[in-house]
Point group: C3
Chain length 498, copies 3
């Protein structure tokens, strides 16, 4: 059932002249003032601030791109597999309007692909491009279409084939290989996230190569600290094999973490990352923790034991960070894989991760009671629950030396979302307890687009403070630089080349 | 105790010259640019968008007006009984400042009316008109005063009698009878809500009449699905009598629902509506459901059983909608009749319904696990808990084909409320997963005023996206049309005349 | 570890020329249009509204200044002890960036001060002044620096000594003594909060003095109604000794409250204040209450008993207010002293109070069922959980005659916080169910600065309603006056001189 198309006057493809040069297509262009305030006074301030940060290198200290791209530097295959199928922001919206994931070429849980014609998938995407009006995906992709591929017409059913062919043609050239794009995007450092079980071969390949690009890893231990993760017990066994530790014991398990963290650090990691359902932490005695570990290794731990173990492991990870200096990131509050049917058929990460209420005040207290005043620990907290910005996170980051606020995340990595983040955190936490922008993307080409949106929104926000006489323009310029470049480098300890 | 009047300089009525023509009264007029942005650039865009939708027919697919008005077409009685006593937005505000409900002629639970002088009630209302400054009620009523009744002075203690007499005079003329106003308001379709026990005689009268006005019903089964509803068990028995089913059995009870839904559909219904305290759903086995039904039919079910039964019935209603095509509306999250004293003395619906936190992520999961990917089911979800807009509802509507977001509802049917709705849902759910505007009113005359506010606020919001270069103006015009007219017709399946 | 300074280019002090006249320092000035909208139209309206309220006397009906200042009228000691060490807004932000509380001269729990050089503390504060960019503390202190002390350069490492010496010099003069500043600030009435165990000697001294300044107390019974308060049981015994009641009995305990409330009223109090962790209320039978009181007086009551007792005491206080007319303030929702280490080392009130979710719908119901419709009771509710503004508090204040909304509080006493308060409460509760502005400060010099910010933000908000044609400008002027002066006097029953 096609629900929306009748409303947009899109006819069936057969009606469309194939020679699109013969008809007038809506033009695509990026206005240089986009996202700046309408008031002439504020807009002028925003422009002056923006020119000072627009061309700064990109610091991308957290994300989910594939290091294999930069290790192998093979050309990307085609428009669909580069831009559409890995991007859950895109296929979730299509799904919401009744487009079957199968028809987009999204792989099933068993690895099969029902409909594997990437051109057909691209056409379907183009037919539904209007769905993205008002969304950040639209802004990011328009940026990519203009600045990476040079298009001058908007994507539509009529231009779909032209886009598809033209993108594929460019992707086959050297200028569009991963490393070339990395350099063209002016990326100073890019961080990916890997499981403790990962051999980090791609990062090692990059490190050992002559290429100067800096691609770091981050230690993401969810598969071996979350008893509800697929294959948890096997993962813990594998962790033991990798490290030579007896991970059937609590002591051996912790030692194995220490060993893998050391290995990650040697390969370049400066941070860890933790994606738990809640931000609950715990500070059990060694005996309690040992007993709990024994229980979660047994068959089918209770939900409460699983949650308590994750909670305890956040505190254990903090303790290790005090020792080895890795910056700790906590990304809590998503109900993963919300739909049972989609999880069964397509597996994880199919756009069905839904935010939940998150209680940071009680959740983080055990960790903060133990380490919150420790200046050797740095914990960056993110949220999907915007109600916590002004109520909990800004007050906590505004007093605990250990805590910093991660930027507007995921669904809130958007113009309105970023504005709300600044409006609701700045007055209580200031700018200096935030860490600048992270893109957190799987979509490599969107990185510069996302950073551009963030720089524009921050400059627009600062222009309001200046216009309101809450801040001098010179101070605002200093802060724009800070948010764009200095804070992320400092917060993620990226100052020295690895 | 009159609390506010000393502040506004209103003297006792005796001090006021009765001939109001002799003194200068503040003028009442509606500025054509009301609710548009102050920036000249944005205001010009908003104007251009608004003229394209200002005169479109009104689609009012959800509300609580009385179908008897349009069946009988009798004149409305007087200003007080038309505008004041049925409108809890008005008398609740007066109550908050110490005006007794009795003195406004609000009927008591036993049906008695303590003070039944409608002119005195109107004067009391006029004396307190300043309380509504900054509220949507003020905007709606000013629209009615100007556009329906042609007043040019503001309502006040001094003009109260003039308003009262003039309104009553007009109400007695043919041009102000219900059907004439319906046509004058350019209402294309208006939906009311009725209990399954309702005979729908007024709707049938309208259908069988020569009048072309389209007044639909919606199936609102709360009285027979909520074990805590007054007279629940009697209602279930009556449901059996109406349908010839044995509603003391689970199977007979479900069959009776099916029969009444069929009847409602035959009379024109395209939707159902569900006003539960929470949005909890359940998907019990048939045996569990049967046992639960038995328990809630017995004396005094537990609160948990009552809640679980409502939860199960939402899923049962969804299952029936898959079969019969009725669109399902869920309006959860109100603590009804919050004050025990007022409930005892005046009964339900006296302005003491207070919103509560609502958890859609866990609440809707059982229903969505079963039907969330079913393209034959359409569920429109509303909320009184704005925190769920960006955290839960937009992410869920942005991926589930079954879900659509209802507009800003009840207390949020207001300029700031609508703006927050768009700001917090658009980036994640887009425009196409929303359903345009519903007025949800009991106050018939406010319908065009409310739709006008919604059209203005949407055009103002769109003008910001255009001014920010997030959207082209032609696209914005298409969306303004969509939100005003196309989406509600489509979402409520109103395309074909009944 | 100094984290931020490298980013701001602040060198070590040794590098700075001591003669600051030789170098150009950034100028400090307060723009007359600060906090007004950028749009010329709105700005003009805001200016016109503001001039009508800018010079009105200050009504400060709730705060935590020290009545001893006005009783003794001794000069303040120095800049650090006047402005820095009592202000948790300031030292919490320094703490968040790794500055040790000891180095600021914040006293330890045992009363000792590790580093007691106030000049060094002031320098440290000045070195970190950039941290306050974008915060209300910055606006307040800049106002104080300009309008109280006449500075024309911004505070910085370079100007720190100049500020320190100049402030201290002024503080030693008569014009900067507490009473002189009180008069210069045009304070009409200032209220402090005291424990029932307080002898109110300073208030009595003021009352008996020739000085005309009006400094009231408010009855803050937390130390004797909260079983988890330090020394609760001793406090209850002391309450008995003060009043000659047997406070080991429920009846004697309640009588002791009545006696102290009478005493407070005689000394001038018009209100009580309650700072509970939650807003839970209860309405137990007399027998249940008596048993509960017995349990909480015994050793180590359970957390549930402690919470239930606080809940019951809110309702008991309401009952007494019905009798004696004291206005009741409820300030719930803070997790006090969140960090165990800081609480142990430094004690209470060290900036580690973190807001929590608060449920007013269920919490207040028992009290409101009993007294919510009683026009002899006035309850002013505050919140730190902004999600409750539009969802719970505005709907409740918009119908209950007993309830009024306190202004944006604590972390939300800020330009963005106040704007959100008005945007989220006005449409449902109107202006007349709010109580104007309270500063709630411990920092005496910030009082006029805070009131100025509130007046500006309210005028800016009103200018938007006028510009949007939601309100006439004359009405807006009336409301500006109301919010600034009339409502707080009325809500706190301050109309008659004590």
């Amino acid at each position: 059932m096609e629900r929306c198309c009748p409303l947009t006057g899109v006819g069936s493809r057969g009606d469309v002249p194939r020679d699109i040069d013969q008809i007038l297509m809506p033009a695509l262009a990026l206005n240089p003032d986009r996202l700046f305030p309408a008031s002439a006074e504020k807009r002028a301030i925003a422009r002056r601030l923006y020119v000072q940060v627009a061309d700064l290198p990109i610091i991308s200290p957290h994300g989910h791109t594939d290091p294999a791209w930069f290790a192998g530097n093979d050309p990307f295959l085609n428009a669909t597999e580069l831009l559409l199928t890995p991007d859950h922001y895109l296929f979730r919206m299509l799904c919401s309007q009744g487009v079957e994931l199968d028809t987009l070429g999204v792989p099933r849980a068993d690895g099969s692909v029902s409909l594997s014609d990437p051109r057909a998938a691209w056409r379907l995407f183009a037919d539904h491009w209007h769905l993205f009006r008002g969304t950040p995906s639209r802004m990011w992709l328009d940026w990519v279409f203009v600045n990476v591929f040079g298009f001058t017409q908007i994507l539509s059913s009529e231009t779909a084939d032209n886009f598809y062919d033209s993108i594929n043609e460019k992707l086959s050239t050297d200028a569009f290989k991963p490393r070339a794009l990395f350099e063209r995007f002016n990326i100073e450092v890019l961080t990916t996230t890997e499981s403790p079980l990962d051999a980090l071969e791609h990062h090692q390949t990059i490190n050992e190569s002559a290429w100067a690009g800096r691609v770091l890893t981050a230690y993401r231990p969810d598969p071996v600290v979350d008893p509800e993760f697929d294959g948890f017990r096997d993962n813990v066994i594998e962790l033991g094999e990798l490290t030579g530790e007896d991970t059937s014991t609590w002591r051996g398990y912790l030692n194995a973490h220490r060993a893998r963290r050391d290995f990650f650090r040697q390969v370049g990691a400066t941070s860890t990352d933790h994606g738990h359902p809640s931000c609950r932490t715990a500070d059990l005695t060694a005996d309690e923790a040992r007993d709990l570990f024994r229980r979660v290794l047994a068959d089918a731990p209770t939900a409460e034991d699983a949650e308590l173990f994750r909670a305890q492991m956040l505190t254990e990870m903090a303790a290790m960070s005090v020792d080895d200096g890795l910056v700790m990131q906590i990304h809590p509050g998503s109900f993963r894989n919300h739909n049972a049917k989609v999880l069964g058929e397509f597996g994880r990460d199919k756009g069905f991760d839904i935010p939940m209420q998150t209680d940071y005040v009680h959740g983080l207290k055990p960790l903060l009671d133990r380490f919150g005043m420790n200046k050797h620990l740095s914990v960056i907290v993110f949220t999907l629950d915007e109600t916590s910005y002004s109520r909990e996170l800004a007050p906590m980051a505004g007093v605990y030396p250990t805590l910093k606020l991660g930027p507007a995340w995921w669904f809130h990595d958007s113009p309105e979302g970023m504005r709300r983040f600044r409006q609701m955190t700045t007055e209580t936490a200031g700018f200096y307890n935030t860490v600048g922008f992270n893109d957190d993307t799987r979509a490599f080409l969107s990185i510069p687009a996302r950073h551009d949106v963030a720089r524009r929104v921050d400059c627009a926000f600062l222009s309001e403070l200046v216009s309101d006489h809450r801040l001098g323009e010179e101070e605002a310029a200093e802060i724009a630089m800070l948010l764009t470049y200095e804070l992320p480098k400092q917060a993620y300890k990226l100052d020295s080349q690895s």
